[in-house]
C-alpha cells in the first residue's frame, strides 16, 4: 500500500497546486459536501456516471496502472507537462477516482480536481470553437451550449477513447490538431450542416456495391468545376485523417464514424436521447447565414487532390478525404480472408468486397475475373488465346494401389471358400477348386488348365487344343 498511497498523493499534489484558487468556486456551486452524495442521484447523468466510471475503472487495468514504473512515467509527465494534456489529465482523473474509492474520501482534493477540470474545459471549448470544430460537431455543440456540469461529465469520460481524435493540441502524443488553412467565420451550426452532408454521404457509400464504384464516387466531384475562389479549402493532417473515428459517445466513449449512428447509440443511454429533437439531425435550420462551400485538400504533396497541385481537384467531404488518403497513400493492410489476394486500405472496401468475394468465380486465363459467366465468355470470344480458367479439382476415382488392395482382400475371401461341385465331375475330378490369390491377373483366377485336369464325362469327343501360353495371351487381343 505504501507506494500506492504515495502515488496517489503525488498525483493529487500537482493539479491542486496549480489550481489552488478553485475549490471555493466549486464549493459555491455545490454548496454542501454532505449533500453531494445525496444530490448525486438527482443530479444530471454525468454525476451518476462519475460513479459508474469510478466503478468501472477499478478492475485490473488500474491495478497494473499502479505499478511503480508506469505510474512514475505518468507522474513525471504530469509534473513536466502543462496541465492541458488531456490524456494525462484523464489518467489523473482515473487515478483520482480510484484513490477516492480506495482511500479515504478527500473532498478537498476532489473539489480541486473538479475546478481544475472546469478551467480546462473552458480552455478547451475556446480552442475547439476557434479551430476544427467541424470534426466534432456533436461534441462541440454540447460544449458550446451545455451546462458546465455537462461539460465536466463529458470531459471526464470520453477522452479515454477520443484522445486521438479530439481536435486539441496534444503534447507528446504525436497527433496535431486540425489547422485550418483559412479561418472561417462560419458558425458552428454551419459546420454541423457540413457534417450532415458527410453523414449522408457515408450512408450512400455504405450502399454502394463495387469498390471501384466507390472510387468513382470519390472522383465524382471532378466535374464540379467550382471556380477556385468560391470555396474554402481545408487540409487535414495525415494523422487526423487516419484517426479511426470522428463521433464519440459522451457517456461511454464509444466511437462512431457517423453522427447518425452516434445518435442512434445515444438512445441506449437514457430517455432524454429518444426525443425527436435529439434524434433529428442537429440544428439544420438554425443557420441563416449563407453557407460557405468547403472543400478539402489532401495533405500528400504532389497528389492531384493536394491544393498545391496544378490541376488541383478538391475533395468534397472529410470522408472523401479519409477514403482518398487511405486508398491512395496508405498501405493496403486489410486482406480478404476468403481470397487472400485482394487488399484494401479502407475497411469498408474490404467488407464490400467480402460480400462479393467468391462471386467473381468466372475466371479467365489472363487473370481477369468476372461476376457473370456471359461476361467471361464475351471476353474469351473477343480475345485470341484467352481461355476459361478452371480451378483445380481433386482427382477422383479409386487409385490403383487401393484397387489392388481390395482385390487382394476380396480374393482372400473367395480363396477361403471351397467350391464344391455336384456329381458332374468324374471320378478323378477335383471336387474342390480353390481360387488362387493372384491380384495381378484376374484372368488367371481360373485358369483353363485346371479344367484340363478335370474329367468331364462325355466330352472327350471334342478336340481340345492345348492351352499354351501364346494362345491364352492372344485370346484377349482380338475382338471382332
Amino acid at each position: 500500500m505504501e507506494p500506492n498511497d504515495r502515488l496517489s498523493l503525488d498525483a493529487w499534489a500537482n493539479p491542486s497546486s496549480s489550481c489552488n484558487g478553485l475549490p471555493r468556486k466549486m464549493s459555491l456551486e455545490n454548496p454542501s459536501f454532505t449533500n453531494f452524495n445525496l444530490q448525486q442521484q438527482e443530479q444530471k447523468w454525468d454525476d451518476t456516471s462519475i460513479l459508474n466510471y469510478g466503478i468501472r475503472s477499478e478492475p485490473p487495468p488500474f491495478l497494473e496502472f499502479n505499478q511503480a514504473s508506469e505510474s512514475e512515467y505518468l507522474l513525471s509527465s504530469t509534473c513536466n507537462n502543462q496541465p492541458k494534456v488531456l490524456d494525462q489529465e484523464d489518467g489523473l482523473n482515473n487515478e483520482a477516482l480510484q484513490t477516492s474509492k480506495s482511500l479515504d474520501w478527500d473532498p478537498r482534493a476532489m473539489l480541486n480536481n473538479l475546478s481544475f477540470l472546469e478551467q480546462k474545459i473552458h480552455h478547451l471549448q475556446d480552442l475547439l470553437i476557434s479551430t476544427a470544430g467541424s470534426l466534432l460537431p456533436s461534441v462541440k455543440h454540447k460544449l458550446s451550449t451545455g451546462p458546465p456540469n455537462g461539460q465536466l461529465g463529458e470531459l471526464l469520460f470520453p477522452p479515454l477513447a477520443g484522445m486521438n481524435c479530439v481536435p486539441q493540441p496534444q503534447h507528446g502524443s504525436g497527433s496535431k490538431a486540425v489547422q485550418p488553412q483559412c479561418v472561417t467565420g462560419s458558425k458552428v451550426s454551419d459546420q454541423c450542416n457540413q457534417m450532415d452532408v458527410t453523414g449522408s454521404f457515408g450512408a450512400e457509400q455504405n450502399l454502394s456495391i463495387e469498390e471501384h464504384e466507390m472510387k468513382e464516387e470519390e472522383d465524382a466531384d471532378e466535374g464540379e468545376n467550382l471556380p477556385p475562389g468560391s470555396y474554402d479549402i481545408l487540409q487535414l493532417e495525415k494523422e487526423e485523417i487516419l484517426a479511426p473515428h470522428t463521433h464519440f459517445c459522451t457517456i461511454c466513449g464509444k466511437g462512431f464514424k457517423r453522427d447518425a449512428n452516434l445518435r442512434m447509440h445515444m438512445r441506449g443511454h437514457g430517455d432524454e436521447y429518444k426525443t425527436p429533437a435529439a434524434l433529428a439531425k442537429p440544428n439544420k435550420e438554425s443557420s441563416s447565414e449563407p453557407v460557405i462551400i468547403k472543400r478539402y485538400s489532401c495533405p500528400f504533396a504532389g497528389c492531384k487532390r493536394n491544393k498545391d497541385h496544378k490541376k488541383f481537384q478538391p475533395l468534397k467531404t472529410i470522408l472523401c478525404v479519409k477514403n482518398h488518403y487511405k486508398r491512395t497513400h496508405c498501405d493496403k493492410s486489410y486482406i480478404c480472408s476468403r481470397c487472400n489476394t485482394k487488399k484494401f486500405s479502407v475497411m469498408a472496401d474490404l467488407k464490400t468486397h467480402e460480400k462479393h468475394c467468391g462471386k467473381d468465380k468466372w475466371l479467365c486465363s489472363c487473370g481477369t475475373t468476372f461476376s457473370r459467366k456471359d461476361k467471361l465468355f464475351g471476353h474469351i470470344a473477343l480475345f485470341q488465346g484467352h481461355t476459361p480458367a478452371i480451378p483445380l479439382e481433386e482427382t477422383k476415382g479409386p487409385s490403383l494401389s487401393c484397387d489392388k488392395m481390395d482385390g487382394n482382400e476380396a480374393s482372400n475371401k473367395s480363396g477361403n471358400i471351397n467350391f464344391s461341385f455336384g456329381s458332374n465331375a468324374g471320378g478323378g475330378a477335383q471336387n474342390i477348386i480353390e481360387v488362387k490369390e493372384d491380384a495381378d491377373d484376374p484372368a488367371r483366377y481360373f485358369s483353363p488348365l485346371s479344367f484340363d485336369t478335370c474329367n468331364f464325362g462325355g466330352f472327350h469327343e471334342f478336340p481340345r487344343p492345348t492351352f499354351d501360353d501364346s494362345e491364352s495371351s492372344f485370346s484377349f487381343l482380338e475382338a471382332p
Binding site: K396, P398, D406, F459, R464, F474, L477
Partner: protein, 668 residues
C-alpha cells in the same frame, strides 16, 4: 485359307514370303481383315508372320487393360485404340498408352471406360500430339478440368462428349479455345452446357462440320453464331426444348452448307420456325423431324424449296393425308422416307406420296396400323427399287399383299415383316428377293417350314433371320435355312418350341454365326448347343433362357471354343456352378444374365464372377445379394462390373400359340 498358305510354304521348303517385300505382305494382310480370327491364325504361323502382323496392325480393341503395356509394345504402329471393351481404364492405363504410343496414336475410344480422370487425359493430350479423335461418351464423372485437359490436344478434330453431365460451359470453353481444328463435336446430354459454351464453340472452331447438341438446355441465343459456321453440314438439335418459333423467326438466314438437320422432339418448333431455320440451306439432304411438329400441308409446303432433299424422317409425328400428298408433290423424289409410328397415315395419303416418289429406296411404315393392302399395292407398284421395307405390325395388310412385295420389289435387302399376316405363299414370293440379307418374321404365326424352306433355298445372302415366336417353324425350316444361307450371322428362334437339336446341328455349319437366340426352346439340349459352340467360333451373343435341357455339358465346350463370346443369358436353364465357372474362363465375356438357376450356389456364383475378369454387367436374382458378402460386390464394382438385381418370381412358360391372343387382349 491360312492353313493352306502355310502348308504351301512348308511344301516348297523355302520361305517364299521372305522374297516378298513387307508392303506386299501388308497388302495381303489388308485382304484378310474381315475376320479377326484369320489375322490371329496368320500371326501364329511363324515368327516372321508374327512380326509382320504386329507391324501391320493399325486398329486395336483390347479386352483387358492389364495387358495394355504388352500389347502396345507388340503393336507399335497402332493408331486407333478402341478401349470400349475395357471398363476399367484408369489414369495409369492412359499414362501407359500415352507413353507407349506417343505420336503414332491418332484415335482413341474411351466411351465405355470409367475410372480415369483429367490426369490421364492430360498425359494423353500432351504426349500424343497427333490425336485427332477422342470418344469420351458416358464419362459421367468427368468435370471441367478433364475438358481442360482435352483442350490440350491441339490437333483434335473429332470429340464425343455424350452424357458428360458434369462438364459445364467452362470446360467446353476450354475445348473451344484449345481445339481449333475441331470438325465434329457431340455434346449430347451434356446438360450442364448452355448457350455460352455452344456459342463459344461456334465462334472459336470455324472448321466444325458436325455438331450434335441433342438435349442441351440451349436457346436461340447460340443459333446465330452456329449458323454462321462456314462448313457446318450436320447439326442435331434433338430435344432442344429451349428453341422455339419466336426465336427462330428472328434468324436472318440459315446455314448454306447444311446437309443434315435433326430437330427431333423439339416440341416448340413448328413449320414456321423450321422454315426460317432452313432458309438458305439449299443443299439440305437429310431432314429428321421425329416426334416433332405435325406434318401438315403447311409444313410440307414450307419444305418445298429444298431441292436436294433425299431423306426425310417423320417418325412419330402426327400426319395428315394432305401433308403426305403435298410431300409427294415436291418436285424432287426422295430416296428415304420414314413414317414409323406416325399417327394418321392412311392409304390415301401414303399412296399419293409413294406414287410420286418412284426412286424411294428405303421406306419405314412401322406401326402404321391404318394402312391396308391398297397401300402395299401402290408401294410395290411405284417403288420397285426399294431395298429396305420395314412394316412391322401393319396389321390390316392381308396376306395377299405380301405376294406383291415378292413379285415387284426384288431388290429388297432388308425386310421387316414382324407381327404381320404373311403366310407361306407370301414367303415363297418373297424368296425371289435374292439380295435379301435381313429378314424379320417375328410373331408371324401363319408361316411354316414350307415357306421358310423357299427362303432358305433362294435367299443365299441372308445374314439375319428373326423367327421370334413364329411358332409354326420347326427343324425342317431351320435346316433349309442353314443349308441355303451359309453366311448367316444372326438367328433368333426364341419360343419356336418345336426346334430340336437337329436344327442346332445343322446351324453349326454356319461358321459366321455370331448371335444365337433360342429362348424357350425346351427340346434343344446341351448336345445341340455344344455343336454350335464347336462350329460357330465367332459366337458373340448367346441367349438360352428357358432352355431347360441345356446344362453344364454345353457350357464346357462353349468355354473352350467360343472365345469371342461377350454376352450370355442362361436364366432358367440347367446350368450349375460348374458351367458358370467354365464360362468364366472366356476372357471376352462381359455380360451375364443368371436368373433362376437351380444348381447355382452362392459360392459358385462368387467364384464365377470373380474369375471372369472382363465382366461389366451381371444380372442376378436379388436372393444372392444377401447371401454373398458385400465386400465381394464392392470389389467387383471397383473392377468395373455393374450388378442388376431382379426380383422376379419363377415364371412358367405360356402356351406359345395363345401368346399373340393374349398380347392382343392387352393391346385392347
Amino acid at each position: 485359307m491360312k492353313r493352306q498358305k502355310t502348308s504351301e510354304t512348308n511344301a516348297n521348303n523355302g520361305n517364299l514370303f521372305d522374297l516378298l517385300s513387307e508392303e506386299i505382305v501388308f497388302t495381303i494382310l489388308d485382304f484378310i481383315d474381315t475376320n479377326p480370327l484369320d489375322r490371329k491364325s496368320f500371326s501364329l504361323v511363324c515368327k516372321s508372320f508374327y512380326i509382320t502382323e504386329s507391324k501391320h496392325r493399325k486398329n486395336l480393341t483390347p479386352l483387358r487393360q492389364e495387358h495394355l503395356p504388352r500389347i502396345l509394345n507388340r503393336y507399335p504402329h497402332v493408331n486407333h485404340l478402341d478401349l470400349s471393351l475395357c471398363p476399367r481404364i484408369n489414369d495409369n492405363s492412359l499414362n501407359v498408352i500415352s507413353n507407349t504410343c506417343k505420336d503414332s496414336l491418332n484415335s482413341i475410344d474411351l466411351s465405355k471406360s470409367r475410372f480415369f480422370s483429367y490426369n490421364g487425359l492430360m498425359s494423353l493430350a500432351l504426349n500424343c500430339k497427333n490425336l485427332v479423335s477422342i470418344d469420351l461418351s458416358n464419362a459421367t464423372e468427368l468435370r471441367d478440368s478433364a475438358a481442360a485437359a482435352v483442350a490440350e490436344a491441339k490437333n483434335l478434330e473429332r470429340l464425343w462428349l455424350g452424357r458428360c453431365k458434369l462438364i459445364t460451359d467452362m470446360g467446353i470453353g476450354c475445348i473451344a479455345v484449345g481445339c481449333k481444328k475441331l470438325r465434329l463435336i457431340s455434346l449430347k446430354w451434356c446438360i450442364s452446357v448452355s448457350d455460352l459454351g455452344v456459342g463459344l464453340i461456334a465462334v472459336k472452331c470455324k472448321e466444325i462440320r458436325s455438331l450434335d447438341l441433342s438435349y442441351l438446355p440451349i436457346t436461340n441465343k447460340c443459333l446465330p453464331s452456329i449458323l454462321k459456321l462456314q462448313h457446318l453440314e450436320d447439326i442435331v438439335l434433338e430435344g432442344c426444348f429451349g428453341i422455339d418459333d419466336d426465336s427462330l423467326a428472328a434468324l436472318k438466314h440459315g446455314c448454306q452448307s447444311m446437309k443434315a438437320l435433326d430437330i427431333s422432339s423439339c416440341q416448340h418448333i413448328s413449320h414456321v420456325g423450321l422454315s426460317s431455320l432452313i432458309s438458305g440451306a439449299g443443299s439440305l439432304q437429310q431432314l429428321t423431324l421425329a416426334y416433332a411438329c405435325p406434318v401438315t400441308l403447311a409444313l410440307a409446303n414450307s419444305l418445298n424449296r429444298l431441292s436436294m432433299l433425299q431423306s426425310v424422317k417423320l417418325d412419330g409425328c402426327a400426319v395428315t393425308s394432305a401433308g403426305l400428298t403435298a410431300i409427294g408433290n415436291w418436285c424432287i423424289s426422295l430416296s428415304e422416307l420414314s413414317l414409323s409410328k406416325c399417327l394418321g397415315v392412311t392409304d390415301e395419303g401414303l399412296s399419293s406420296l409413294v406414287t410420286k416418289n418412284k426412286d424411294l429406296k428405303k421406306l419405314d411404315i412401322t406401326c402404321c396400323r391404318k394402312i391396308t393392302g391398297v397401300s402395299i399395292a401402290y408401294i410395290t407398284n411405284s417403288c420397285t427399287n426399294l431395298t429396305s421395307l420395314r412394316m412391322e405390325s401393319c396389321t390390316l395388310v392381308p396376306s395377299e399383299a405380301f405376294v406383291l412385295i415378292g413379285q415387284r420389289c426384288q431388290f429388297l435387302e432388308e425386310l421387316d415383316l414382324t407381327d404381320n399376316e404373311i403366310d407361306d405363299e407370301g414367303l415363297k414370293s418373297i424368296s425371289r428377293c435374292s439380295n435379301l440379307s435381313s429378314l424379320k418374321l417375328g410373331i408371324c404365326l401363319n408361316i411354316s417350314d414350307e415357306g421358310l424352306s423357299h427362303v432358305g433355298m433362294k435367299c443365299t445372302k441372308l445374314t439375319e433371320l428373326d423367327l421370334y415366336r413364329s411358332a409354326g417353324i420347326s427343324d425342317m425350316g431351320i435346316i433349309a435355312i442353314s443349308r441355303g444361307c451359309p453366311g448367316l450371322e444372326m438367328i433368333n428362334m426364341s419360343y419356336c418350341v418345336d426346334i430340336t437339336d437337329r436344327s442346332l446341328l445343322s446351324l453349326s455349319k454356319c461358321s459366321r454365326l455370331n448371335t444365337f437366340e433360342s429362348r424357350g426352346c425346351p427340346l434343344i439340349t446341351s448336345l445341340g448347343l455344344a455343336a454350335i459352340a464347336v462350329g460357330c467360333r465367332q459366337l458373340v451373343k448367346l441367349d438360352i433362357k428357358k432352355c431347360h435341357n441345356i446344362g453344364d455339358a454345353a457350357m464346357l465346350p462353349l468355354a473352350h471354343f467360343s472365345q469371342n463370346l461377350r454376352q450370355i443369358t442362361v436364366s432358367y436353364s440347367s446350368v450349375t456352378d460348374l458351367g458358370l465357372l467354365a464360362l468364366a474362363s472366356i476372357s471376352c465375356l462381359q455380360s451375364m444374365t443368371v436368373l433362376h438357376l437351380k444348381g447355382l450356389t452362392p459360392s459358385g456364383l462368387a467364384a464365377a464372377v470373380l474369375a471372369c475378369g472382363g465382366l461389366t454387367k451381371v444380372k442376378l436374382h436379388l436372393y444372392f445379394k444377401s447371401l454373398l458378402p458385400q465386400r465381394l460386390f464392392e470389389h467387383l464394382e471397383a473392377r468395373g462390373c455393374v450388378f442388376e438385381w431382379r426380383d422376379k418370381e419363377f415364371q412358367a412358360e405360356l402356351d406359345p400359340k395363345c401368346y399373340k391372343l393374349q398380347w392382343e387382349d392387352i393391346a385392347q
